[in-house]
């Protein structure tokens, strides 16, 4: 008797397929979604021939494909059939037209800083947008920049600085790309004042899934603009973007330390509500050692903060917090290993944030460089999971505390990063089915929960289980997530509801009949 063979059920793009892990496996671990099935390669060869006939360079060798086998998360793996490096809107247009014709999936990648496999191609074409990464025009009068979509925010900052300019807000990560960020949101420590990174987009050149090259903005092809910004790459490839910029200023930094997450969150929200600082965010070493970062662009703003708000904050300065910790561990000697960890962490981390080459006269230059280098140095590893919760202001403290309890259960050490996002009422159409929770008014708040992997190895299922436990909180609170694509897309219907998802799916099917563009990311 030949062995019984099982056949993978092919899933219609846009539907959530069955989990291929046996129902009796991994008992006790709630499963929501696994990596998508690899596309089976149907009509690849005529598609590849058509591209080459059209003068498009398609690389199929292992060196090209292997480069993109995973993303920053390092838990999703998939090889494309071939790689195209984006060079122009016309080339991207030709690629997408051929992909529609031959029904070949195209996965678009910027900096590749997704963690859930959103920028990993499970077959088909990987379109590397970093090939289009030039600044096209800087207007220091109108305070705008026109740039290609694949540019890294850091490369943009390098160029803007030559003009004494800076972008408004961008992820604290040097290798995020502009196009990728506009598609998902992007948060910075100035988002409580300036909104998410996507809010700074004034106009875009987009190549639609059918291959049309379209300029869009709030006033031109507004519907497309609404869908593409915060659209998770479903409605077009951003080939160019016009962004707001501002004059560059170094930062006046203040750090306040708390032994309570809730108190720190409340103080951060107090600052935001009263526009008391230019930058604010929470970064924890442990849940009993919480840092509220507060910073300013000008002496005037700093002086006003000192006069009106500093005394209202319940956090300590560094010496005061050291005394606080001394008292805490004197009363709890059995927790001395925890104290030792804190001390070690302080010794490693603090100098990195105060390196003399980035600090002059008490001012921090290039905050993104300082924070991003620290992020990669102290939190980066070959495997990263960063589940997050986004809620309204009212629900945020509860979300942080409940998420923190999950982290404690799963990992000995972890970091929480919390920040507010000023919402723009006129951008409400962008916000539907995005990281902005539907019930948020004024500000949305986000918290990332990042376990420290240290030298431990965790199974993908353990990590998935951790993420699910965090994301279940979001469902219960009626919130949203920054990273709801890829391996977490099983939560999309749970958190947004069928009506909203089906409406967006219908729009997607209309815009992308063969469902070729970033097909496994959210639908």
């Amino acid at each position: 008797m030949p062995p019984e063979t099982s056949e993978l059920v092919l899933t219609e793009p846009g539907a959530i397929g069955p989990c291929h892990v046996g129902p009796d496996a991994l008992l006790g671990i709630k499963r929501q979604q696994t990596n998508p099935t690899r596309w089976n390669g149907q009509r690849w060869h005529p598609f590849a021939a058509a591209l080459r006939d059209g003068g498009i360079e398609l690389r199929e060798n292992i060196a090209a494909c292997g480069t993109f086998a995973t993303d920053a998360g390092g838990t999703a793996y998939g090889l494309p059939h071939g790689v195209v490096i984006a060079r122009s809107a016309a080339q991207v247009s030709a690629l997408l037209k051929a992909a529609q014709q031959f029904r070949v999936p195209v996965t678009v990648r910027g900096g590749g800083l997704t963690t859930e496999g959103e920028s990993v191609a499970f077959g088909g074409v990987l379109l590397d947008m970093t090939g289009m990464s030039r600044v096209l025009h800087v207007d220091t009068e109108a305070l705008t920049v026109r740039t290609e979509g694949g540019i890294f925010w850091h490369s943009l900052a390098e160029e803007l600085r030559r003009y004494g300019m800076d972008y408004l807000s961008a992820p604290l990560n040097l290798t995020s790309s502009v196009g990728g960020t506009l598609g998902v949101g992007g948060i910075d420590v100035n988002s409580p004042r300036l909104g998410c990174s996507a809010d700074q987009a004034l106009a875009l050149q987009v190549v639609t899934p059918r291959g049309d090259i379209v300029e869009c903005s709030d006033t031109q092809n507004a519907e497309l603009f609404q869908r593409v910004v915060l659209g998770y790459g479903q409605f077009g490839v951003i080939t160019e973007a016009t962004l707001k910029i501002r004059r560059y200023t170094p930062l006046r930094m203040h750090y306040f330390y708390y032994d309570s997450l809730r108190t720190a969150v409340e103080d951060m929200q107090l600052l935001n509500r009263n526009d008391a600082s230019d930058y604010s965010g929470i970064l924890t070493i442990m849940d009993c050692a919480v840092n509220l970062l507060v910073a300013f662009d000008s002496d005037e703003r700093e002086t006003a903060f000192r006069a009106n708000w500093q005394s209202k904050l319940r956090g300590h300065g560094e010496p005061g917090f050291a005394l606080c910790m001394l008292r805490r561990y004197a009363l709890r000697p059995w927790k001395l290993p925890e104290a030792w960890y804190l001390l070690q962490r302080k010794r490693e981390l603090f100098p990195e944030f105060r390196r003399s080459e980035y600090m002059h006269d008490g001012l921090m230059y290039d905050r993104t460089v300082v924070f991003s280098r620290a992020v990669w140095k102290f939190w980066g590893s070959k495997q990263m999971v960063i589940p997050d919760l986004a809620t309204s202001a009212e629900k945020f403290a509860e979300a942080v505390e409940r998420g923190n309890a999950v982290c404690r259960k799963y990992f000995p050490h972890y970091t929480l990063y919390c920040v507010g996002i000023r919402l723009r009422p006129e951008h409400k159409p962008h916000y539907e089915m995005s990281c902005i929770p539907p019930d948020a008014e004024g500000w949305a708040y986000g918290c990332e929960f990042e376990p420290m992997m240290d030298d431990r190895v965790y199974s993908r299922d353990y990590l998935q289980s951790f993420k699910n436990a965090i994301y279940d909180i979001g469902v219960e609170l009626g919130g949203s997530y920054y990273r709801f694509g890829g391996m977490m897309k099983g939560y999309i219907r749970r958190v947004f509801g069928d009506e909203v998802v089906d409406r967006h799916l219908a729009m997607k099917r209309e815009a992308d009949p063969a469902m070729i563009l970033n097909r496994d990311v959210i639908f």
């Binding site: 292992i62 494909c65 480069t67 090889l79 030039r134 890294f152 030559r162 460089v369 990669w376």
Partner: protein, 330 residues
């Protein structure tokens, strides 16, 4: 026995440790020119992690300029440039026999031992400008204790770049005459960390740092100067030199070819084909990028190679660091 691996903790890490952050890409001049991840350390590391062999990366590996900008930015502390040299050593460059022959010939002509406390390894570019070399020698030899080494290891430097094995005999011929020196000044930044390892008793300095620490030169730096650091030596001793140049910036107020990560932006993009003379260098775009958006009245270079690159694309005067002493006298 001399070691060709720089013995730092980073040397024990390799491409398999790359977590994929991409910080190396941001500082890579070859990536900047080509906008193609396959021409970046990140691209090689990821390709190798997922099944590619060094032979699949031949062009990209030869095109690397070994500016070492990727070394200090790597959060995993991988010796990225060392990794590239190891990968190159697994390939066989068509010029291998030529380079080996050159080294063998040099080994047969042992240089006399340096009798002075300080030795200068001038390098080929400086030797081609005898007037400037003599000016530098005069500046550095105030106490009469400096000697220009007969053998400056230019052939070894090129062999290292090409991944060609250097014989112990040839290396001994370079090192033995330098044993008496307690200070070695080297113009070729690639050799700097190797010399530090091969001559553990000596203090090794780059020519740029040595000249810029002279008061007669230092005080003639202007606020409107662009000071161009030679990248290879700077990145090889980044932790120390970043502080050195930061002090110089604060003292003199001049601009530097440093990016926002405080990495030196190279003025040239010369991979192995250009260094071996197999391809004509095309540095215009890179030199223009260094100058882009800066308001300067003069360019001061540590490296002669950079002077040529800037002279092609700029209207402001371009001077070698050593020439600042002359302008002060005038």
């Amino acid at each position: 026995m001399f070691d060709f691996v720089i013995n730092t903790p980073a040397a024990h890490k390799s491409y398999s440790d790359c977590s994929g952050c991409g910080l190396c890409t941001l500082v890579c001049p070859v990536w900047r020119r080509k906008r193609d991840l396959q021409h970046s350390p990140l691209g090689w590391a990821k390709a190798l992690q997922h099944g590619a062999a060094p032979g699949d990366l031949v062009d990209a590996l030869w095109n690397c300029t070994l500016c070492r900008a990727c070394d200090p930015v790597c959060p995993e502390r991988i010796d990225v440039s060392g990794m590239i040299l190891k990968l190159r050593a697994q390939l066989v460059h068509p010029q291998t026999a030529v380079l080996q022959g050159r080294m063998a010939a040099q080994a047969r002509r042992p240089a006399p031992a340096c009798q002075e406390k300080t030795a200068l390894l001038a390098g080929e570019a400086l030797r081609a400008h005898p007037a400037l070399l003599s000016r530098i020698t005069a500046l550095l030899d105030k106490a009469g204790v400096l000697v220009v080494a007969h053998d400056d290891g230019a052939d070894i430097s090129l062999a290292l770049e090409a991944g060609v094995t250097v014989s112990p005999e040839r290396l001994a011929a370079l090192i033995e005459p330098l044993r008496r020196a307690d200070k070695v000044i080297v113009a070729d930044g690639l050799l700097l960390p190797y010399l530090a390892q091969w001559l553990p008793a000596a203090r090794i300095f780059s020519l740029g740092e040595t000249l810029s620490s002279l008061e007669i030169i230092r005080r003639n730096l202007r606020v409107t100067d662009l000071y161009v650091i030679e990248p290879r030596a700077y990145h090889a001793d980044y932790v120390r030199l970043i502080k050195y140049y930061d002090r110089l910036r604060k003292e003199r107020g001049c601009d530097f070819n440093l990016d926002l990560q405080r990495i030196a932006i190279p003025a040239t993009v010369r991979g192995l084909p250009q260094r071996l003379g197999l391809m004509v260098p095309d540095d215009d775009a890179q030199a223009s990028w260094v100058l882009h958006g800066r308001s300067i009245t003069r360019i001061v270079v540590e490296s002669l190679e950079d002077r040529a690159a800037f002279e092609k694309v700029s209207n402001v005067p371009v001077v070698h660091l050593a020439e600042l002493a002359d302008s002060l006298r005038r």
